[in-house]
Amino acid sequence: MERVGRLAFVPPRYGADVIGGAETVMREMAHGLAERGWQVDVLTTCARDHFTWVNEYPPGVETVDGVTIRRFPAVISTPRAERAAISASIVAEARVSIELQQRWMNDDVRVPDLFHFLLDHSSEYRAIVVAPYLFWPTFACGQIAPDRTLLMPCLHDEPEAYLDIYQPLFSGARGIWFLSAPEQDLAQRIHPQLPAHEVIGSGLHVPDRYDPEAFRAKYGIEGRFVLFAGRREGGKNWEQLLDGFAAASMYGDLDLKLVTMGALEVHPPAIIADKVVDLGFLPDDQRDNAFAAADAYLQPSKYESFSRTIMEAWLAGTPVIANGASAVNRWHCERSGAGLLYDDDLELAQCLRFLAEAPDVAASLAAAGRQYVLDHYTWPAVLDQAEATILKWLPTGS
């Protein structure tokens, strides 16, 4: 294979300790392609947190495992009050003019030095991969050299996805990488004139072994529990999950704890405060062990473009209970036969009750899930797809 030319990956944040599905996929993809012989640059901000955008990493250039990392300062120069007001209208699905959409986009983090670096150097890259669609770096940098830009939108069915300002990003890119078929369907519904596109999926590394007992011992967790991993925030439906779990606990004795790991604070209702265990951010091996130790993994988010954590649970042999409002959750669970779906708190309660009352049957669901991940979502297969599309859409000399 002719691996000629430099590739640029442009995530809004980058680092082993950065939490975020799109950021993780971008990092794995960048390093995976570098290992296969591509020259890869990561062009990103100095920020670790996507709420504060505080510049925590130093600006400049470093090399990590053969990948050149260029960091540029994130700039927030406004109080973002106008963005908050416009966001309220967007979420309420009120009509928002293009002027206001543009003000909404620009009244947030901006990265002028990154923009100008790409303005100066875009022609030196064979492909410029930008993701996820929602953030300013993707929006601004994805339109500098659209003829060589590959968009990995990580699109969710959320009000922002329907904003007019994103149309040029989606219709103008050289190609689009989708993480799942439902994500592709959604994009086609919103932007009927998509350029070349492919579902390339996302990959996972298969751990050599799991040690659930070590996890229980290390964190002092006894008894059965369900797990949630990720950002504990509204966008992930975390608060609704807490409410649903509280409601399920009130209906009767539910001998399950809710263990959670990830970023941001937890704030459980008082009624279940003693049942919620917050472990914060865990290293990769402990994270894997947590998935293996759990009786089930809960995915409450409606806005998923892939749902990496569902795959991690299945790999660890753990069944999944997911919010059916997400087409992606539904697609994975129905296709694999390894997950249960709920559409309201009552259904969630029944899922948890099933888990509590028929643990063996629940556990047996997960076997099909592991095979589903191994069949579709390992990195070698995903990187093969990514390389094939680069060669096809951006041949040398194009």
Partner: protein, 441 residues
Amino acid sequence: MSERILMVTPYPPLRDGLAQYAVQEVKRLRAAGNDVEVLSPEPSAAHYHIDLLSRRGPVALAKRVVGYDRVIIQYHPAVFFRPPVTPAQRARVAAGLLFAFRRGGNVELRVHEFDVEGVRGSTLDAVLTRAMWRAARRITVHTESQGDQLARAYEVPRDRIEVVEHGAHFEPRTTATRAEARAQLQLPDDAFVFLSIGFIQPHKGFDRAVRAFGDLGARGCRLEIVGSVRPDDHDYQVHLDDLRALVEATPGVTLHEGYVSDEQFDTWIVAVDALVLPYRLIWSSSVAERAVLFGRPVIATQVGGLAQQMPPGTRLVADDGELLLAMREAAGDETLSARELVPWPVGDRDRIQSEIRIRAAALRAASPEAAAISSVSAPVRRVPPLALPDPVSARPGVSTFKRAVRRITAWQLDPVVGQVNRLRHAVIDALEGDDGPPGRR
């Protein structure tokens, strides 16, 4: 020699003709080794931003421009003046910019539009405005006539004004061939396709192109209208509604509403056989420049600076009758009547009037459905969609207060406004029936 340059301009990711023009010049200047920084009126990919429409904007700009070898300002009145422009505002802004130009030293103005209102006489605003323009070291415009007009209006030495082609910094955004572009846009290979593209606004006159297109659809031609409505302006929305109805009633014409990427913009241009720019008003046209970039023929109305901007061979038309003729000629239509080929009569008013009536009748005949669009729903359509009043005022400080109130109440008022407008549309749809108005049935 490398220079330190400050560019003052609207800037991406804002999608705006000026911003696109500016970023291409920034790219070229940086590629030439210059150290270019950008200042924009709103937050953007620029290094700095100053609200140039605020009272302190021009003075804040004056503080920022020091220390550069050159300051390039992409000048458009909307960047510096908030309508309605009062003499007091004009004097204040001109004084601030005069101060900024003096402090900046080597200031160049790239003039995209200018306003000659209130610059004569010895009133304070007129004196300050002329002084402001004269303080610029270099001024560029897109056409000779703009240069002459500017020199006369502001008493600027003509040799300080230079004409720079509008498309001097433009680069192609697509490498697609015509066949590839047609395949991508799902246009038939063999049809003769006209294109009118850009923001849909009354002064762009896309409706004129539809009327002139007339019955060409029946002869296998197509007219594609591509663009979106930009501002929340009642007149623009009414214009869009009218255009939709007109398009629906004219076979062969398709309206593609929506925001278009730069790449797709160029793909459209590559795909078609001729561009139609039926503008009622324009200073200069980026669309025309991009058409030239790809070697596509242009039919354009002779307004603003278009006559000077367009290369030889461009078909310039004076009115709707000539537009009709030009489109038919471009499409190779051999069925033109002798009447349509007759040049306009000169001198005799009655004959001219008579000719006008004859040509208008020909246009109506070319598209009878369009003329019949009615009617039943017209009283409702004339009721403007509900829109909240603009939070602006000529009184100091009141605009800020109004904007604050607007933001605070937006979450309650916007859904109500949306619902009222949906009801308005529902009433129109109901009156027009399932099959549309009589003209569309």
